[in-house]
């Protein structure tokens, strides 16, 4: 019977210090890039919120009248109908009450 040697010695990975630093660099670059893409995709989820907000500020900027009290149609409505803000008709049509829902069973 042949005399097999069962003592197994793992073949050592021969990496020089230079190569090791290089591998670290590659791994680091891969991690950094994927993290960058991931955060960018997450930020991207909110990009459309900013775009819509800009749309409304653009609408404000190009409006000829930019304060509610200077809206001629509103002034007209108060003159011909509701009287003034907080008048009794205004209170009736433009104001409301709220309910304590913890007490509604």
């Amino acid at each position: 019977m042949a005399n097999y040697d069962y003592d197994y010695v793992e073949k050592a990975v021969e990496v020089s210090r230079r190569e090791f630093v290089g591998i670290l660099g590659v791994v680091g670059a891969v991690l950094w890039t994927s993290a960058y893409v991931a955060t960018d995709l997450i930020q991207d989820r909110t990009k459309y919120i900013k775009m819509r907000a800009q749309g409304l500020y653009k609408d404000d900027g190009k409006s000829k009248v930019r304060q509610s009290h200077n809206n001629p149609a509103v002034t007209e409505m108060y003159k011909n109908f509701a009287g003034a803000p907080l008048s009794s008709l205004s209170e009736e049509l433009f104001h409301t009450r709220y309910v304590d829902r913890t007490k509604l069973v």
């Binding site: 749309g55 409304l56 609408d59 404000d60 509610s68 001629p72 049509l93």
Partner: protein, 418 residues
């Protein structure tokens, strides 16, 4: 079911059991922990806790939550009825988002095209922005009255609520207070939301003075970026127009707002009628019920109501217009924005310092602010609150994440030069 008034809508959002993968994304957007189910389990909505904001709906990666209130066919039926005047109340945020449903960039401002498409469909155009201006007059006057009474010591004829005053335009926020902070109800502005003001106004002033129609023949369709507005319109107290006419000896019983369409619903209605909004030619002027100012249109952004209110409050108190008109501290996406403004009262010459706060994204940001008021330690006078992160422009009724599904758009967002 607890927490509902009689005849109120009790369900708006439901999760499709077949589509839900149990990823629990909805729970990370739900402001009230109303999405039941653990990770990996099929989720369901607890309607007693739900504020109907629809944040789960617009953020679910699988499209499982759905809006179960669909009035599109009912509205088309009314449009076909020649005896009925169907008027809209289109919210600010709709005009910067509905284009997305027709292949346009997010944020494209399509007011004129939208008016054109609405007219083609047979609507009489009313714009909620007009009512937002009315809302500023009412809510602003209420705030000024409080400032004059509590800070300058003047007498008042009105029944005033507490300071700080909360905005009350956001129906999800109102329901949130009613469910979770009932002790803060006196702090909510008594002013209705622009949508509800517009409904009541169009069925009284609009019907009798502008269109010469019977109020019961005016059918008000609100177009909102919001699913909670469907709940708000169904609240039993909002029948003020009918009450107004009954006092004048007329008959009839009808709500102030008859139907609420979300931005998605309106896009579906246009598509059913064969109208392509993107290729519509624009219509600019639409009569008094659609005449609005820049202050009305920014209501859809977080900080917008505050900025609009400040422009008017500043003028009323000091007698001078706010300058510069853009009030930057309340703009942007910071969770809680603060500002302090010192103004001189033209009547008495006294200085008043107003502490303002703007909160959006209730889930993460409202608790410290609300708890401070409960503890009596709040320094604020006026607080704007919107449930959805970013405000109504990111509401639960808006087109679903325009950048969430297309890889091409994602690549475009990642590349620095595009």
């Amino acid at each position: 079911m607890n927490g509902f008034q009689a005849q109120e809508l009790t369900r708006v959002i439901e999760i499709d059991q077949k589509k839900c993968k149990g990823c629990d994304s909805c729970s990370s957007f739900c402001p009230t922990k109303a999405t039941h189910g653990k990770y990996g389990w099929v989720h369901s909505v607890d309607t007693e806790k739900c504020v109907f904001c629809g944040q789960c709906l617009v953020n679910c990666p699988f499209g499982a939550p759905k809006d179960v209130v669909d009035p599109v066919d009912k509205v088309i039926g009314k449009l076909n009825n020649k005896n009925v005047t169907v008027v809209t109340s289109v919210a600010p945020s709709v005009r910067v988002a509905i284009g997305e449903e027709f292949g346009m960039e997010p944020g494209s401002l399509v007011t004129e095209k939208m008016y054109g498409a609405l007219l083609k469909a047979g609507f009489v155009v009313g714009d909620t922005n007009y009512a937002a201006d009315v809302c500023i007059m009412e809510e602003g006057s209420e705030l000024i009255e409080k400032i004059r009474h509590y800070m300058l010591g003047e007498p008042t004829e009105h029944h005033l609520g507490a300071v700080p005053q909360f905005t009350s335009c956001c129906p999800a926020w109102v329901r949130y207070v009613e469910l979770n902070y009932p002790q803060l109800i006196p702090n909510l502005s008594s002013a209705k939301s622009p949508m509800m003001m517009h409904g009541a106004l169009m069925k009284t002033y609009g019907a009798s003075q502008l269109w010469k129609k019977k109020p019961e023949d005016v059918f008000v369709v609100a177009v909102m970026p919001c699913t909670a507005k469907k709940f708000e319109a169904a609240r039993p107290e909002f029948t003020n127009a009918a009450h107004y006419w009954r006092e004048k000896g007329e008959q009839g019983s009808y709500p102030d707002v008859d139907a609420v369409l979300t931005t998605r619903d309106l896009a579906r209605l246009f598509k059913k009628l064969g109208i392509n909004l993107a290729s519509e030619s624009g219509v600019e002027d639409n009569g008094p019920m659609a005449q609005y100012t820049g202050a009305g249109t920014i209501f859809g952004n977080t900080g917008g109501v505050m900025e609009a209110a400040l422009r008017t409050a500043h003028f009323v108190i000091t007698g001078k217009e706010l300058a510069p008109i853009d009030f930057k501290p309340v703009r942007g996406l910071k969770g809680v924005k603060e500002a302090s403004v010192t103004i001189t009262d033209a009547k008495t010459g006294k200085n008043v310092t107003l502490n303002l706060a703007v909160v959006h994204g209730i889930k993460n940001n409202i608790k410290p602010v609300a708890d401070q008021i409960v503890a009596g330690a709040s320094k604020y006078h006026f607080i704007e609150v919107m449930n959805c992160p970013g405000g109504c422009i990111n509401g639960g009724g808006q087109p679903i994440n325009p950048m969430g599904t297309s890889w091409l758009d994602k690549a475009k967002a990642v590349l620095p030069w595009s």
